[in-house]
Subunit: 336 residues, 2 copies
């Protein structure tokens, strides 16, 4: 193996470049703190289609289409599309990429999907198995609610630890050539299950997985959190982020002020009533694409560690009394 370091980390000497990104979101995201930064805010939750699921697929289609064009490529230049989402049998992605007619690998990493896609995409490019890969992660609030929770029409009250699924799609193009921030290392995560059973407190279930992969990342590369200008988890939310910070302090690797969470950034709880924060595969994908990517490109952030987090349960496993397995992947991205 080239460049494997420590137990779980791979260092990409070739620095596969993220040459373009795209973020397409729904109306609530457009009204949030990052509203002005998204490439497209779709005012209609149906996106002109006839169902929330079809709308999610259309977000994915738009995201990939836009990112590929921005990379100065045509879709035929993309060797592989890697995409995933939260719906049953990943229909958000499969119906979204259907029209592109390009080789497709479906991923399932729940809300960690864009992290899994960044790791695999970088490996395909670094290993010279592809020149250009497009990766995408999507979710839709209404479609996710009916898949995982209650019919929206019931108006069920949500506990304060619950999160709000982001509507949208985040896409990136990873290339062997071209300009853009480089993926310099990836620490793929293990499934960690600490026995949390409350599906309304995903942050608590996922924080230990984030801590596990972060500790491994720092130990493998023999660095400390201050190596990075920014450390951003996917969708732990405000309570999960607190837990993570405490866990990292206990492990003597305090994250400090450079740590944030995409789920905390994307909504304003004071005015948007989103409780713990945003979640869903699109949460970290669109936050990275809209907020972090331009800052990495400009060099305002020089080194970033991006840790999309995912809870790998479904509604039936909760009914069957199972705890919530979680995963997180740590991806190091540095300015060119």
């Amino acid at each position: 193996m080239r460049h494997h370091i420590g137990e779980q980390t791979i260092r990409f000497e070739s620095r596969p470049a993220i040459t373009a990104v795209a973020s397409v979101v729904g109306p609530k995201e457009g009204e949030g703190p990052l509203g002005q930064l998204f490439d497209k805010v779709e005012p209609d939750m149906m996106a002109g289609t006839q169902s929330w699921e079809k709308a999610e697929s259309d977000f994915a289609r738009q995201g990939i289409d836009l990112a590929v064009k921005r990379a100065g490529l045509e879709i035929k230049d993309i060797q592989y599309i890697l995409a995933g989402d939260l719906l049953n049998q990943s229909i958000g992605s499969t119906f979204g990429v259907r029209s592109f007619e390009r080789p497709f690998f479906g991923l399932f990493g729940a809300c960690s999907t864009i992290g899994e896609a960044l790791a695999l995409g970088a490996m395909l490019v670094d290993g010279e198995c592809a020149d250009n890969v497009a990766i995408s992660a999507s979710s839709h609030f209404c479609a996710a609610e009916r898949t995982f929770r209650f019919p929206l029409e019931l108006g069920v009250q949500r506990p304060l630890t619950s999160s709000w699924t982001v509507t949208g799609d985040g896409c990136m193009v990873i290339s062997s050539e071209g300009e853009g921030p480089g993926i310099t290392a990836a620490t793929a995560g293990k499934i960690i299950d600490m026995g949390i059973r409350d599906a309304n407190n995903m942050g608590a279930a996922m924080a230990p997985a984030a801590a596990d992969v972060l500790v491994r990342h720092f130990q493998d590369l023999k660095i400390t959190p201050d190596y990075y200008d920014a450390i951003a988890t996917g969708d732990l939310g405000r309570y999960g982020l607190e837990i993570l910070k405490r866990l990292m302090e206990e492990r003597e690797l305090p994250l400090g002020d450079r740590a944030t969470d995409c789920g905390v950034m994307i909504f304003d709880n004071e005015t948007q009533d989103t409780h713990a924060g945003g979640s869903g595969p699109a949460c970290s994908a669109v936050t990275f694409a809209s907020y972090f990517y331009p800052r990495l490109k400009e060099g305002v952030i020089r080194r970033m560690l991006f840790i999309p987090t995912g809870a790998l349960m479904n509604s039936m496993t909760s009914q069957q009394g199972e705890s919530i397995p979680a995963i997180a992947h740590a991806i190091a991205i540095e300015s060119q």
Copy 2:
């Protein structure tokens, strides 16, 4: 890119080796024509657990455990586990691999999953991003029926074109060193949707995807079907296989007698009432592991093209009037 040939094919000069396989199946598969070839036939559809879903996870756990041991490795020697299944949010795999505590990438390719995993696993090993990868695909008849069709208790009559989801897990270890048949090429498939809407006739929906990737494979490598001793699709079933053969004749690449389908092989319709044949991610995975792998190892089959096929819909897309997108990946495997 190293070794990309034509439009969609990658040739692996390093020939990543399938050093070990494992097949764990349920009672019906054990009574079928391949019954004596499986590593383990579990007599209990619950596998000693309390639900069909937990049983499927246990099959996945057993399959991976057995294949890794057979490869002469410990689980810590596996850099990445790539696994997928058919259940909502891929819980068959995630709960199955949870106890291994190894870096995990969840895949969703429906019944084509083991093909996707072979392609990606070979790329990771060929690209020197991993020395050892474990891949797994699982399914469970009862869990799939209630996910996609009707409660078993209803006893709904099944049309003759419907298939029977295979219960079990097929696992393989792909390594940069060690003995075993080598993965010599992979043609990753595009999503093909010919407008088929009948969820009880998956063979018809998937056959055009298999034909598309086969034509591409032969054209890219400038070979004809007679290059291979065996060409086996995943779970087209008897009607889908007929359609595929006709499509390939029309394209002047007749497959001839070397073409078969794992779904046709795994059950005996005369005595097992399985109609079109077996299906599910485990269908092609356990048929390859039990029947084809030993023959490749012994050299009885020298060159094989393995084409796991998948239908990328769910029950809601059918309710919303959508057609069935399908995909297939063609993996060339040759004796050492």
